[in-house]
């Protein structure tokens, strides 16, 4: 079973709203805005688990810019061909390496070196859902972002007039 989720962080969002996200460079939005904790777990393997801040206190939630992470990973999953590999950047910290073999996808996290495998469809569906949840969060809390010129590239829906 694949668990892929983010925790809404109102404090981070409030800070971002002070920098007019609707007018920001799209690459800046993808890399440095909407930083919220993300958890990615496949069959009880926590791919974002870190030993910080204390070695005995495992933390499975990794702060990531959710807009960039969700859309970049989904882009990679749409582009990856059978029996090939791709990498997805984890902003500020590392990389997810994807290896697709037939209908299976292995994911290796540079955060902790762990690898987990599931069906390609299951992982793609998880990222589809994450992307939709991020879109819904932005529609609700940053409605002006729907007028951003890059909105259709992120979410495939027309720019709101």
């Amino acid at each position: 079973m694949t668990a892929l989720q983010f925790q809404f962080d109102g404090q981070s969002l409030t800070q971002d709203l002070g920098y007019a996200p609707e007018r920001a460079n799209p690459a800046v939005l993808e890399e440095t805005y909407f930083i919220m904790p993300v958890r990615f777990c496949i069959d009880d393997i926590e791919l974002f688990e870190q030993s910080r801040p204390h070695p005995d206190e495992r933390n499975s939630w990794l702060p990531l810019p959710v807009l960039g992470f969700a859309t970049h990973a989904l882009q990679a999953l749409r582009e990856i061909e059978p029996n090939s590999a791709k990498q997805v950047s984890l902003a500020g910290c590392g990389t997810l390496s994807l290896r697709r073999q037939d209908d299976r996808l292995s994911v290796t996290s540079s955060i902790n070196g762990k690898t987990a495998t599931a069906t390609f469809a299951e992982i793609r569906d998880a990222f589809d859902n994450l992307c939709d949840e991020v879109r819904q969060m932005l529609v609700k809390h940053v409605p002006a972002l729907q007028k951003h010129s890059f909105w259709p590239q992120w979410f495939g829906t027309p720019i709101q007039q």
């Binding site: 690459a27 440095t32 859309t71 090939s84 902003a91 500020g92 910290c93 990389t95 890059f150």
Partner: protein, 86 residues
């Protein structure tokens, strides 16, 4: 603009000489295109700081927009990209 979401730190100022060395190290290699971002991971061959986990990092990630404007840059634990499945 917000800073990068990490605890990574440079041991020296992340000036243009580091970015230039990263570009030189990866000369001719493709950048990853991720949405509006362009990502370059380069191995600089020696520790240049620490990654988000506090480990020595010899890699530098440079992120630009599609026009080449630098968005952010930070040390990473360098891993050679895998070009094909096993």
């Amino acid at each position: 603009m917000n800073g990068p979401p990490c605890a990574a730190a440079f041991e020296e100022r992340p000036g243009t000489h580091l970015a230039g060395r990263a570009l030189a190290a990866k000369s001719g290699a493709p950048w990853r295109v991720e949405g509006a971002s362009r990502v370059l991971d380069a191995n600089l061959g020696r520790a240049i700081g620490t990654d988000a986990a506090g480990n020595a990092a010899s890699g530098l990630r440079v992120v630009t927009d599609s026009s080449g404007n630098v968005i952010t840059s930070y040390p990473i634990h360098f891993e050679y990209p895998t070009a094909k499945a096993p």
